[in-house]
Symmetry: C2
Subunit: 424 residues, 2 copies
């Protein structure tokens, strides 16, 4: 029976029952974590051969470059070739970085702030106001970057096809609107793949700002856990064809392909953009860790081999996502107190709880020993206007623990909903 159809007495009865269950849960002293999109130990163990694949100094050479020494600001040739194939872009559109695409993203926005982009009239720090479009629910670490530079972040609602493009097209007429965050494939947290029409409308934007920046975080470009690999268009070419060649920077990494703490990150953009960025990056570094780049290329080889590896990750992740979705289907769906997406890739299940109950749900979960991404984190400024969205990250705990954690979450969702209905 749906909670909204229950009488006050039925809800009271439910409350008492749930409070008892909740106290029992607390007494178990659980310590579970569904907070971040961290791969679990089983996934890390899949790639152990990476550790020793570069064993001999004689192997540390690529195209005559000794990767142990200084140099190669934009990455070693074989790494550029590898990532060019993976992203379906040209080698001279690729910049291979360190262990974190987040850092490449932060540094890109920072350079816009301190120096301006290729088509900027001035550095953004000299602008009176910078506004930024934030499709939400979205990735909290994205919002943290634009937040830390004081940009005014404007929430763009997400639809089943990606960001609300009517709103985006309208807002980019404002020259102080300088950019947009996008996770185009298996968006964080909704797991949505931007539709062809959405992508087409983004590439054809006519922003008033000459230096409007599409931050295309393709974090989950090959991260299917259900079904086959879904090809995805090359945004760099599409923007060029649409007459916006320098509007987009694309980002990806091997953090969830090999090792999250020790992977290789990449960015892609027009040749001109890369050249411009290198003119500042050359002041910041002599080059990133080329041995780790080489180690990765030797291990991952090419796109085909990499996709085979992703199947192994999928085999680990699939049961975890099923555990979450099955629990929600059986425990929550009949009660009508939440809705959730059924992603086929990425690292999250995005759940919308009864409005006004997300914070309370997660506070209860924490009390019962289950740590989740903070309520509101998926919105700019950490403020979910509906207090509804909850990001579930099933990847880290082993399935048995995950089942316990999601069971706790279900009780908390119910308890928060009953409390809310009784209070209204």
């Amino acid at each position: 029976m749906k909670y909204c159809e229950m009488s006050k007495e039925q809800l009271q009865q439910e409350l008492v029952q749930l409070q008892k269950e909740f106290e029992d849960l607390k007494a178990r002293g659980l310590k579970l974590n569904m907070a971040r999109g961290k791969p679990g130990k089983e996934q890390l163990d899949i790639v152990s051969d990476l550790l020793t694949i570069l064993a001999d100094p004689a192997e540390c050479v690529d195209s005559g470059i000794d990767c142990r020494n200084y140099g190669e600001l934009s990455g070693i040739p074989c790494a550029k070739k590898y990532f060019a194939e993976l992203l379906d872009v040209k080698e001279d559109e690729v910049y291979v970085g360190g262990n974190a695409s987040l850092t490449l993203m932060f540094d890109t926005i920072t350079k816009a702030y301190t120096h301006g982009l290729l088509h900027s009239e001035r550095p953004w720090c000299k602008e009176e106001k910078v506004k930024w479009l934030c499709p939400a629910p979205g990735y909290d670490r994205h919002f943290a970057i634009t937040g830390c530079y004081g940009f005014e972040m404007i929430t763009i609602p997400m639809t089943a096809d990606g960001p609300d493009m009517d709103m985006v097209e309208e807002l980019v007429k404002d020259p102080t609107v300088k950019g947009i965050w996008c996770v185009p494939k298996y968006s964080n947290p909704d797991g949505i793949i931007y539709s062809t029409e959405t992508i087409n409308r983004i590439t054809n934007l006519k922003p008033a700002a000459p230096d409007f920046l599409v931050m295309w975080d393709n974090a989950y470009i090959i991260h299917e856990f259900e079904g086959e690999y879904v090809p995805f268009p090359d945004m760099i070419s599409l923007c060029r064809e649409a007459g916006n060649p320098d509007m987009v920077f694309e980002f990806a990494s091997t953090s969830k392909v090999t090792l999250p703490g020790a992977g290789v990150a990449v960015m892609a953009s027009s040749k001109e953009n890369i050249k411009y960025m290198e003119s500042i990056l050359t002041v910041q570094t002599i080059g990133y860790d080329k041995l780790n780049q080489l180690r990765h290329v030797k291990y991952l080889k090419d796109k085909k081999t990499t996709l085979e590896l992703m199947k192994k990750h999928a085999d680990v992740l699939r049961p975890k996502f099923h555990a979450v979705l099955d629990a929600l289907d059986s425990e929550i769906a009949p009660l009508g107190i939440a809705e959730w997406k059924r992603p086929k890739g990425g690292y999250f299940v995005s759940l919308n709880a009864m409005p006004g109950t997300a914070k309370r749900t997660l506070a209860l979960a924490k009390e019962a020993g289950v740590v989740m991404t903070g309520a509101g984190a998926t919105f700019p400024y950490g403020k979910d206007p509906q207090d509804s969205n909850i990001r579930i990250a099933p990847s880290l705990p082993p399935v048995a623990e995950l089942k316990e954690a999601i069971a706790v979450l279900c009780i908390c969702l119910r308890l928060a909903a009953v409390e809310k209905l009784l209070a209204d």
Copy 2:
């Protein structure tokens, strides 16, 4: 016979002879490089065991932290401990980064520019003017950083004891003077060790700017190639004791201990400074490559073991420095056309040619196939007011090639000097 004592006829004769030698050199089609402080292949080969020291996933753990996964913004505990010993600072004064101390330096100045430092009244990008003290000859990549933010760089002459402190003490009374570059041990390129008095005067500076920043680049902290390790005071404690606890950031790396392209960088400062920087760094990254940190600690173990390794590097470097100094002593000293330092550590020989001949000398060297650091590079804006300083980097070529290269340089120094004397 000294060139300055030669008659015009003698100089003419010398010119003809040198021009012939120079043409012979050119005809040999040499391709030699003394441009950058890059370790040579023999040095890289010393540390080959580093490649495979972390072979087993079970070893990828430090203090219960799986170093393969996300996290640990400020570095893993064992790396903090290792670098704390190396720098003689406390573990909570240490921030372990990626593969480049240059990046940590760039990022520190960038954060001052975008957000301000702990005691800043406003971000430096909001200041009307920022001035910066540049002891010179100095490191071109330092000047590139402060240059790229448009700071007005003021050249501070170097003395045998370090920067001219009378001038520094006077200039810091100007509140727009925000900082100073220092390479305190085996300064780049002079190879000078700052004297106790210089260090004392720096720590006791009373800058008008509340956020005056001493960039203490201890790049050559353990990099003796001649004689025993020279202990060096802990600048973080000294500044604290002098009542300037948050004035200094110290930087170092293993770039010239293990591998230049794949080492580990570190920064140290007051606990409060590190905490403040982490508040911004946490937006930039989830953490640096912890596997490489762990790999390094397993390999380098502790300061004692590291100093033993540095002896092996010294054994490779010493003959190279001797080759340079011997050639200068025999070919140039009798002519009285240049002076140079005799460093016991670091990576450079700093030579002052006859004023007005450095550019010409290096142009000639280039013509003869010997690439050197560009003339003027050791001064702010790449402009040596005397056109005199030449930075010789003997580390990269094997000794035989180096001897050829330095012989070329000697001819070029002589040719440029004769040309100058004849033109005057």
